[in-house]
């Protein structure tokens, strides 16, 4: 890297990281100091906002809800979408390209246009304010995502190993589960993480299809902090930090697999 690019990179990192750093610092700053003009990094640092978050507002509940919904959606989207993607990538049948185009088209629907009809549908099914009531609508964008990512990934796997499995007598499902999935692990991990993060951050459906604090997810809970009497900025900041944590943890844990998944196929073997 030249000195120029190094400087550019450092600059970009500073610009992107700055709001996060600010957010973290501010979340440990007492409410009264937040709007003063003194520098945040000088302190004092208190954990008041976090305490309020968990003791008074019971922020554990939205976290739990978000975790459950995101995890269930990811699990379903990756397994179902993976099987679908494998069929689309490896089987030859009429209408294959039509299905792919359809999958793409479905994902292009503006979410807002789906809210009203979905609400009515879920209400009829008695699913408003339930976990399935969020997981099912989430699948409408999670499945196209996983299918598209995994079709692309499966296609670039060399077919010999699957052919060898076929010669050995393995059917398609067995091949997918025992041969392809272990080899496609980087791609699957990347897809799962992207799906999870998408679900975790989702706001519109979560707001529309839940009714009370018992089922609010994190983005909804944070948005609803305000409007009670005043805007509790400190707590909002603390909640935002907490909301960002799982994503950071996931990415750090799986970052090696993500880069593998993104650069797979570059080197033979």
């Amino acid at each position: 890297m030249t000195r120029w690019t190094t400087r550019l990179a450092v600059g970009a990192i500073i610009i992107t990281a700055f709001p996060l750093v600010w957010m973290v610092l501010a979340s440990f700053t007492p409410e009264s100091h937040l709007f003063e003009s003194r520098a945040l990094w000088r302190g004092p640092f208190v954990a008041d906002h976090y305490r309020a978050l968990f003791d008074e507002r019971n922020f554990w509940i939205p976290i739990r809800n978000s975790l459950i919904v995101a995890a269930m959606t990811t699990a379903l989207a990756v397994t179902l979408g993976g099987a679908c993607a494998y069929a689309l990538a490896r089987m030859r049948f009429r209408g294959r390209y039509t299905i792919l185009a359809f999958v793409l088209a479905v994902s292009m629907f503006p979410q807002i246009s789906l809210v009203a009809p979905l609400y009515l549908l879920l209400r009829e099914a008695g699913l408003i304010n339930t976990y399935p009531g969020l997981v099912l609508p989430y699948l409408t964008f999670a499945m196209p995502l996983t299918i598209w990512l995994l079709v692309g990934y499966f296609r670039q796997l060399p077919p010999d190993v699957e052919e060898a499995a076929a010669m050995d007598g393995a059917g398609l499902t067995r091949t997918l589960v025992e041969i392809v999935a272990p080899l496609a692990w980087p791609g699957i991990a990347t897809t799962a993480i992207l799906t999870f993060v998408y679900c975790w951050n989702e706001f519109l459906f979560a707001l529309s299809f839940t009714l009370g604090p018992e089922r609010y997810t994190v983005p909804v809970a944070i948005a609803l902090f305000r409007g009670q009497y005043q805007v509790p900025w400190g707590q909002i900041l603390a909640a935002a930090v907490v909301a960002t944590l799982p994503v950071i943890v996931l990415v750090v844990l799986f970052q090696r697999r993500i880069t593998q998944g993104l650069t797979a196929g570059a080197v033979k073997g």
Binding site: P158, M167, R174, I179, L183
Partner: protein, 330 residues
């Protein structure tokens, strides 16, 4: 072991290109047939059609007399050794060998016995708990071979299995495959682009060109009596020389071929065919003399004994054996 019949099989790819055109072939039980031809000749496609990895556009494929045309590869009970070995990278050698047997629901005890036996016969017993990435090319090849053998299939299909090996290893492994054939009495269909390999291995060779069979028969038969110009030039190294027939017989149409080994170099005056030496290559056991005919500058190669001095740019006469001439009208 089984016989394999290919009955008027064609494979037209979407887009119109014909990989295999109306090919019919009988492979007897226990026979080693080699499919040979240049790239794009359809040999691999034909093998894959037999394996079930491709579907025939028309025609039938019979395995042991039974119509297997619409059967998936899983149901054909054939074993294939791939050019890239196609080992399961995340499984150990033992698991690689056992996989096919597991798929066919062989009892675990039996699986262990067979895997152990095959591993030992291929001298990879010590590698059973390793993964393919930890093996050398030759070792991987043996595992690929072992995976096929352990299944005791109806027939073996080989798709250019030696292409990725270095020449020394290639020779050894080729001999092993020949020995394996003798030991097992197995029906084997072997694909290669190497004519020497085809001649050495095959009980019968099938020369393919542009999706069609050019000629089929025992190697020596094709070598001695090639039916077409292509077959004549395909077998034998250096390849057969082809010259205008009128150079030998005034007025004769077409071309005539003679092998480099059937030419003797003499003084110019002795024969009617004069040429100039362009290049002499020595292989140690013989010399390959590249010549240009005086008459029409055609290139000819002659094989000469190793200790004869043949100066470059000298003029020589070519003496041909009358009984080793092949006439073709292209």
């Amino acid at each position: 072991m089984a016989s394999i019949t290919v009955d008027r099989v064609s494979r037209i790819f979407p887009g119109g290109h014909a990989g295999v055109r109306d090919v019919s072939l009988e492979v007897a039980d226990g026979e080693l047939v080699v499919l040979v031809g240049p790239s794009g000749s359809g040999k691999s496609t034909l093998l894959r059609l037999i394996a079930g990895l491709e579907s025939a556009t028309s025609g039938r494929i019979l395995i042991d007399g039974r119509d297997a045309t619409n059967a998936p590869p899983q149901a054909r009970d054939l074993a294939m050794v791939f050019q890239s070995y196609a080992l399961y990278p995340h499984k150990t050698v033992r698991e690689n060998l056992a996989f096919g047997l597991r798929m066919h629901r062989v009892a675990p005890r039996e699986i262990d016995l067979r895997v152990q036996g095959v591993a030992e016969s291929l001298q990879i017993g010590a590698l059973l708990d390793r993964r393919p990435a930890q093996l050398s090319g030759g070792q991987r090849q043996r595992v690929a071979l072992g995976r096929a053998i352990v299944r005791e299939p109806k027939a073996f299909l080989f798709d250019e299995p030696l292409s990725n090996l270095d020449p020394a290893l290639r020779l050894d492994t080729r001999a092993e495959i020949a020995l394996l054939h003798r030991r097992l009495g197995a029906t084997m269909i072997y694909v290669t682009h190497d004519q020497e390999e085809a001649m050495k291995l095959g009980q019968r060779i099938v020369i393919l060109k542009d999706g069609r069979i050019e000629q089929a028969g025992p190697p020596l038969e094709i070598y001695r009596t090639p039916a077409t110009l292509f077959a004549a030039r395909f077998l034998g190294s250096p390849p057969m020389n082809i010259i205008d027939a009128s150079l030998l017989e005034a007025g004769r149409r077409g071309v005539v071929g003679f092998r480099p080994q059937d030419v003797t170099l003499t003084e110019v005056e002795r024969t009617g065919l004069a040429a100039t030496v362009a290049l002499v290559e020595t292989v140690g056991s013989e010399q390959h003399v590249h010549l240009r005919l005086d008459a029409d500058d055609t290139r000819v190669i002659a094989v000469a004994p190793p200790d004869r001095t043949i100066p470059v740019d000298s003029r020589v006469g070519l003496t041909l054996r009358r009984d080793r001439l092949h006439y073709f009208t292209p």
